[in-house]
């Protein structure tokens, strides 16, 4: 039936109604002569001078050198490899802020004026002008280094410039889920959800691979590579890239100060790529066993027979240990506290860095063959001399374990704590005299860590939060990360900015509150720390306990007299070379105790120190260099 239907189907091909435009009649033979009337019409011919081009004309390039950061994205997008980056030594170089001393040069023997370079430029510095004439036999004039005046320096107006419609960059970050303030304020559960595979892929796709982050990172992490790997869906490759320079991906994926994001080109006009969260996504997405396998793929097969002792199991010490162990040296790390990790464990609250994540990183380091002996304090359990005699080299990386005091009146009261001390107690689960109200002095990340930890404990214990944080700096110059300030506020921490501590008011042996005064300026004319206060503007912040979080100091008494004297010192710190070497050949120092200020710098210092020790021990550090 069906076949019959198709066979008898009428052919409709020619029946479709159409419009026939057959001319009705031919014109007269003389009709074309009407064209002669054109003799008396105004001619359409334009004058010989070139016309000004249209407002968004795509003519020769201009580039605002002040705005340009030399990221090279224009060269990347160029269809025709017409754009090459030229290194210009005269220009400033600023890794921290993501500025490279190079500018695009354009080959007009290649360019097709598609303006994709304009549409993708992260800064909006490059544009196409309305200039369009260049005639020459000299080939070299077709290769130009455009500046804001354009090809011939004639200052033509901009034609095709940056425009919202045609912008090719995604300036918005993928949203990151967080636990709501109400749900998180009474526990130490991790706040940030982390990316799922889909959002991570989209976030990774925002990267333009300019490499500014690589330069800005203290340890030069291969962020472009691992972001690209995440985008390609190859998380294992990403982990491999991460482990090339950083044995603390879990830690840095959560609490890194992300210098990379400060330098990120996309951040010029939009929100930088969430490099830190991408790192966290990658490492979370790979199973611990697989991570170990990837991280230890380049471990040396042979043992060197040399022994190295490392004092302190913070990021600097463990990074040094990891590198040295991978090079085949026997490494022992001594930690005075119960568990390894140093400040990462005892300084960073659990809601920012869950301990099992830190343990995962440390497990990889231990798997490399590093022996970690916890609860062994040098100077107390083991003598420094013994350490020296048992090992070929010694590294001290004991960090800044001692809180500094404001030394204001009342600061010697029993209810006054130092932040580092208190954070360590919170981590260790030690009890202390928690009060219903607390005041924190300091405006850095440590101050917020303790303030927010106290807030949680108060909420848990008393069901309400009363924590006051007093920072010397103004709100827009706070030392703490912006998200700390915001999240702290969400959790009930009252933040007072621009105020200096005056005294701790004590009544009947109990702390009544903290008195602060308005801070007029922090530094004197020579830039030294010398705050000026308006003594008339006094506020009393009622609090039953006070925490000082104004900075830390190091305790190096364990070194012993001989070594202390043999070392060179600089403002209370051991003076070291770039590679961590000290005045004593076998002794190296790394981390916060000599440099600071954060985990990623400590990791960087650890790599440098390990490389120096390997050289000192006579081992070829070729592996490390190759990895760089």
């Amino acid at each position: 039936m069906e076949q019959k239907g198709t066979k008898t189907r009428p052919r409709k091909l020619y029946e479709v109604p159409n419009m026939d435009v057959t001319p009705k009649n031919k014109g007269s033979f003389l009709r074309p002569l009407k064209a002669l009337s054109f003799l008396f019409r105004e001619p359409v011919t334009l004058p010989m001078e070139p016309r000004p081009a249209a407002e968004n004309y795509r003519g020769f390039h201009v580039n605002d050198w002040e705005k340009c950061i030399g990221c090279g994205t224009c060269a990347e997008i160029c269809d025709n490899e017409a754009i090459s980056m030229v290194h210009i030594p005269d220009l400033p170089e600023d890794h921290k802020n993501g500025i490279k001393p190079r500018r695009p040069a354009i080959d007009y023997g290649r360019c097709c004026w598609c303006a994709l370079c304009v549409d993708i430029c992260p800064t909006g510095s490059i544009a196409l002008s309305r200039e369009y004439i260049h005639i020459s036999r000299e080939m070299n004039t077709f290769f130009i280094l455009p500046d804001e005046k354009g090809m011939h320096g004639l200052g033509y107006p901009i034609g095709w410039g940056k425009n919202e419609d045609s912008d090719l960059l995604d300036l918005k970050r993928q949203p990151m889920g967080e636990v709501e303030p109400e749900a998180r304020s009474d526990n130490f559960d991790e706040i940030v959800d982390g990316f799922d595979a889909h959002t991570a892929l989209i976030e990774a796709s925002r990267c333009i691979q300019c490499g500014m982050c690589h330069e800005a990172c203290p340890t030069n992490m291969h962020a472009p590579q691992y972001i690209r790997a995440i985008w390609e869906g190859n998380v294992e490759k990403a982990v491999e890239e991460i482990y090339r320079t950083n044995p603390f991906p879990q830690v840095c994926g959560r609490v890194c100060t992300h210098r990379c994001e400060t330098a990120c080109s996309i951040g010029r006009r939009g929100e930088p790529v969430a490099i830190r969260w991408l790192k966290r996504y990658a490492i979370d997405a790979v199973s611990p066993a697989k991570v170990k396998k990837i991280a230890l793929a380049d471990k040396a097969k042979k043992k060197s027979g040399k022994k190295v002792a490392i004092v302190g199991s913070g990021p600097a010490g463990l990074t040094t240990a990891f590198d040295l162990a991978k090079l085949g040296h026997a490494v022992t790390v001594y930690e005075s506290k119960e568990k390894p990790g140093g400040m990462m464990r005892y300084g960073i609250p659990e809601y920012r860095l869950p301990y099992d994540k830190l343990d995962a990183d440390i497990a990889v380091i231990e798997a490399a063959g590093v022996a970690i002996e916890c609860g062994k304090a040098i100077g107390r359990d083991i003598g420094f001399d013994a350490l020296r005699s048992d090992n070929d080299a010694v590294v001290v990386a004991t960090g800044l374990g001692q809180g500094r005091s404001t030394r204001i009146p009342g600061s010697d009261q029993p209810g006054v704590f130092s932040a580092v001390d208190l954070l360590a107690r919170v981590t260790a689960g030690e009890s202390f005299d928690l009060k219903e109200s607390a005041a924190v002095i300091g405006g850095g990340n440590v101050a917020f860590d303790i303030a927010r930890s106290l807030a949680r404990l108060q909420k848990k214990t008393f069901g309400k939060v009363d924590v006051t944080l007093v920072a010397l700096e103004a709100r827009d110059r706070m030392l703490a990360d912006e998200e700390e300030v915001i999240e702290g506020g969400e959790e009930g921490v009252k933040v007072f900015t621009g105020r200096g501590p005056k005294q701790i008011v004590v009544e009947n042996g109990a702390i009544k509150g903290l008195e602060t005064v308005l801070c007029l300026s922090i530094f004197d004319e020579e830039g030294r720390f010398h705050p000026k206060y308006d003594e008339a503007d006094v506020i009393l912040h009622p609090a039953a306990m006070v925490v000082e979080a104004i900075g830390q100091a190091t305790d190096v008494s364990y070194l012993g007299k001989d070594v202390t004297e043999a070392l060179e010192w600089e403002r209370g710190r051991i003076k070291i070379g770039r590679d961590g070497s000290t005045a004593v050949p076998w002794l190296f120092a790394a981390g916060d105790m000599v440099e600071g200020p954060d985990v990623i710098h400590a990791v960087a210092a650890g790599h440098r120190t390990a490389s120096a020790i390997d050289t000192f021990l006579g081992g070829g550090s070729s592996k490390l260099e190759a990895a760089e």
Binding site: P17, F29, R31, P32, L116, I120, S205, W231
Partner: protein
Amino acid sequence: MRPENYRPVSHPPSHEYELYFGPNHPGIEGNYAIRVRLKGDEVQEAIADGGYLHRGFEKIMEERLWIQNVALVPRICVPDPVPMEECYSRAVEQLGGLEVPARAQWIRVMMLEMSRICAHLFTFGGNAATIGFYTNMFWGVSMRDLFLDLFEEITGARIYHMYITPGGVRRDLPEGLLDRLAALLDDLESRLPDFEDLFFSNTVVINRATGTGTISAEEALAWGVTGPNLRASGLPFDVRRDDPYLVYPELEFEVPTMKDGDALARMMVRKAEVLESIKILRQVIARLPHIEGPVRCPLPNPLAWNIPAGDTFARVESSKGELGFFVVSTGGAKPWRVHVRGPSQMHAVQVLERLLARGRLEDIAQIMFSLDACPPEVDR
């Protein structure tokens, strides 16, 4: 001067001879050659010889990112570049699942129809020039130039706009453009009677073009003729109506046809299409101001833009006929394969060879131009 080693070329003793038409001759838009075997002035056989404009587009498109190819595609057909952009972009949109915002769709239609008018005006001129009517060419070309001025305002370039991208268009229209376009359309319309007087109802032209290079309806279908050439043989087929895209279903327009299928019919169809395009553009001018919104859907970072694996065939009615892009993606950042089906691939090769073989020496240029074949589209 005569070179020292010059030897006169002796033709075989025959009344048949061969003639090389092109590649440098005015009979066709661009660089193309025909080898004809003649007996007297009667063509016995014609053999098309292309490849002079071969750039290996399909190969180099495989080497470039999806977005980079936007700059490449308009160059496939020089006189009518916008349909190329549209067709490629739509193929990518179909593969990538991109939604084109309404405003962008209307702007695209506007661009396409402007480009059609430009191409047809150019052909007016070319058609006239092939039979010695240069005035018409001067008029057609300068009229077209006024449209190019508008293109320049919209897109920043006269010929290669690179304006339509996957997901929409690159920018919104400049202020007051629609008014200027409306004025230009009025101007064009007022000029059409001049063209009519000088050319389309010119006895000489009509006599000259009638019966030249006739394609019957059956032949047109069998030979794969499309576009105005097909409609000149009485077949009212138009991709815009049969396989609609963008907002064409919302637009009112006719598909003009002629019955004769000769050079004159093809010219007349093109003339009528210019009127239809004016009609469409007037509708766009009326509607576009009331359509707000973005002109492009959000695109991923073009340096890291993978299109899901799959293949698709996108079609557009260009001024020459059915234009198709067959695009294959393997899920990568670059196309795996792009096949361009230009209407001239039929018109300039098999159809032309067959038509010329029936014609005479003096008709060759006219037949070639009346087919409006575009050699860069053949060669790619």
